[in-house]
């Protein structure tokens, strides 16, 4: 079929092979890095904003380097420096305290005499440098004054839901998957087809009746129960993933145990589960991700800010206030960090899991 290939060197420029390769590799690196900037730079922007002072955030045009207020030590206390306009003269003074729109300033060189100036007429002095204080400030800031709610509350709630969701998923999906993978019973394949088809049902179809049952009939509104309880009854995706894995366990291993008189549960518990630690870890990671990330579920069921998850708290924060973007970005970074840490510990699991969800079933 194939014609005899022409000698290729005739059509190619007479450059040495290593040079051609080198140029090719360089071009590849440059292209990958150029596109990679699109994926990477937003992270830097989040971090840069998270470390900026309040005045720095809205500076036009925006700057890359975060700036913080210049600070000096007066009487053993760290205080910020301001440019203060007094009778047409600009002086650099340190701010001791603020009350009713007036600031009490002091000259760091001569700290005995204090000066009262309206805050309207002063400007903070900024120097390049990260403002780490934003992180504790963002986490401890009362997001709903009077309720004692801050981002620690949201993190705690998210963690509670995630932990129970993980337990529920493992407890319900592992036995079900074993039942589909390793026990031959009449009707099994039809039922498994139903399991698979439940994955295709859009969430919106079951959303309304479930909402009515949980909040109206069971009075579970504003509790974590509607978000946790369903995870204890299996889901198609994880059952499918586990079943694929259980099927790779050699049948002889189970048969040997059966000959020894072990019950199916015993085989599941002492043979299948210990061999499946990698896939159980995958499911743990996925379930954590899903619970940590979930927005619509908490949005439906949680109404009291004290019960909010991280996802709700963050978006609520930006809806309620004139946005302090630096604190919001600091909080968003905190929301993201557990997942990035998880990624670096479970990198292989992650990528493998994504592959499994692909076509290779």
């Amino acid at each position: 079929m194939a014609q005899i290939a022409l000698p290729r060197s005739v059509t190619r420029p007479p450059w040495p092979r290593w040079l051609r390769r080198g140029i090719g590799a360089l071009a590849a690196h440059l292209t990958i890095i150029a596109i990679g900037l699109f994926f990477f730079v937003p992270f830097l922007w989040m971090l840069s904003t998270a470390l900026k002072s309040d005045q720095d955030v809205f500076r036009v045009p925006p700057t890359w380097l975060p700036h913080d207020n210049l600070q000096v030590t007066v009487n053993g206390q760290r205080v910020p420096m301001y440019e203060v306009n007094i009778e047409g003269q600009t002086r650099r003074l340190a701010l001791l305290s603020i009350a009713e729109g007036y600031g009490t300033f002091v000259d760091p060189a001569n700290p005995t005499e204090t000066i009262q100036v309206r805050m309207k007429f002063v400007r903070p002095i900024l120097v390049p440098g990260p403002r780490w204080q934003n992180f504790p400030d963002a986490m401890n800031r009362a997001t709903r004054p009077g309720l004692g709610v801050n981002f620690w509350t949201y993190i705690k709630n998210s963690l509670i839901i995630a932990v129970f969701a993980i337990i529920g998923t493992l407890v319900s999906c592992a036995p079900a998957a074993y039942g589909f993978a390793r026990i031959r019973w009449p009707g099994r394949d039809i039922v498994f087809l139903i399991v698979l088809s439940t994955m295709m049902l859009p969430f919106q179809v079951t959303m309304i009746p479930l909402y009515i049952v949980f909040t109206d009939k069971l009075k579970w509104g504003n509790t974590f129960l509607p978000l946790i309880v369903p995870t204890f009854f299996g889901n198609g995706f994880d059952i499918f993933l586990l079943r694929q894995f259980f099927r790779t366990i050699p049948e002889e291993l189970c048969d040997a145990a059966r000959v020894d008189g072990a019950s199916e549960f015993r085989i599941f518990w002492s043979i299948a589960l210990p061999l499946s630690v990698p896939v159980l870890a995958t499911i743990t990671v996925f379930t954590f991700l899903w619970a940590w990330n979930d927005f619509q579920g908490p949005l439906l069921y949680l109404t009291d800010p004290r019960k909010f998850t991280m996802a709700l708290g963050l978006q609520d924060f930006q809806g309620q206030h004139s946005v302090a973007w630096n604190l919001l970005m600091a909080a968003a970074a905190v929301f993201t960090i557990p997942i990035i840490v998880l990624f670096f510990f479970a990198q292989r699991t992650f990528i493998q899991g994504v592959k499994l969800t692909g076509l290779k079933g």
Partner: protein
């Protein structure tokens, strides 16, 4: 002996035969026990809600009052509701422009990440990381990047002399802004493509190369047909997910409009199908109307999936027929 054989045949002939051997019966019960939690879950959290939702879709149901049967009126009203059509066309915009664009970008990225060069694994991690950022966090980050005055993107555009648009605050640009946000998180699709690219047989590539095919020709004649089943998979998953697109649009509306001025801001340009459904059901508490919307969504998704599968017979290539 003969009895046992008879039983075995009967068991194999199930469900037509009534007589199961003791062993078959025991396995049936064991099997059901193992999947019992799923069975309860299926009835309680899938089958019952499906039936109930279908029933509600034919009723007027304001959560505090009992549902009242009104036949097809919800469906008729939906077809007369301009916001229903608006939400459908907004969603179609995302499906028709956003989904193919994200497939194209993922495929190009996967091609790049498949090149054997130093630092390949670091590059892969960088491309993948955004896709694990929680949706609300990534949406807020992009709201900030797209901030017309002090955002990163308009600053960068300004540096090359372009005055950036108002992005999320301009109805003409809010959907492109969301598509951009979606492109940032295509990591999962890239990984699926990457695994597909690695399954393209080396021998096929070498044969094409020997035949004198250049890089483009090999891409068109070998790589793209070989990954076409993966394109189909990504396309179907992408279309289904886009019809249910919610969190990003919700967070965006809350971020660009003053509190209380509603979903779909600016000017209903981000009122997507699921957002409108949520608004009808959980803001206005019109549970019957929202249920009808949910069933139409279900039907649309099924039709789209079937059409894609049908059409795919013409453009996907499977080894060995």
């Amino acid at each position: 002996m003969t009895v046992r054989t008879g039983e075995a045949i009967a068991a194999r002939a199930w469900p037509h035969s009534r007589g199961w051997s003791r062993r078959t019966r025991r396995q049936f019960i064991t099997g059901l026990l193992f999947i019992s939690l799923w069975i309860i879950g299926f009835f309680a959290f899938t089958l019952y809600p499906m039936v109930a939702s279908l029933y509600y879709s034919f009723t007027e149901y304001h959560i505090k009052r009992a549902p009242e049967w009104i036949g097809l009126i919800n469906y008729v009203n939906l077809f007369r509701d301009p916001l229903f059509w608006k939400s459908l066309s907004n969603t179609a915009y995302m499906v028709v422009i956003g989904v193919p664009l994200s497939l194209l970008v993922s495929f190009v990225c996967a091609l790049l990440l498949n090149i054997k060069i130093r630092g390949q694994s670091i590059y892969r991690v960088i491309y993948y990381l955004p896709s694990i950022v929680p949706t609300v966090a990534s949406t807020l980050l992009w709201l900030w990047i797209l901030n017309p005055n002090s955002g990163l993107l308009n600053m960068l555009l300004g540096e090359i002399g372009i005055r950036g648009p108002n992005w999320t605050r301009d109805p003409a640009w809010s959907k492109p802004a969301l598509i951009l946000l979606g492109l940032w998180g295509v990591g999962n699709t890239i990984v699926i493509y990457l695994s597909g690219l690695q399954d393209v047989p080396v021998s096929l590539m070498e044969a094409a190369e020997l035949d004198g095919a250049n890089w483009w020709q090999r891409l068109w004649a070998v790589t793209i047909p070989m990954v076409s089943p993966i394109t189909l998979f990504n396309l179907i998953i992408g279309v289904i997910a886009t019809f249910q697109y919610f969190a990003q649009a919700y967070v965006l509306s809350a971020g660009v409009s003053p509190v209380g001025s509603g979903l779909g801001a600016p000017l209903n340009s981000t009122l997507f199908y699921s957002v409108y459904l949520y608004q009808q059901g959980f803001v206005y508490l019109k549970m019957g109307y929202a249920s009808a919307q949910a069933w139409i969504l279900f039907i649309i998704i099924m039709i789209c999936t079937l059409l894609l599968l049908r059409s795919s017979e013409r453009w996907t290539y499977y080894e060995g027929g």
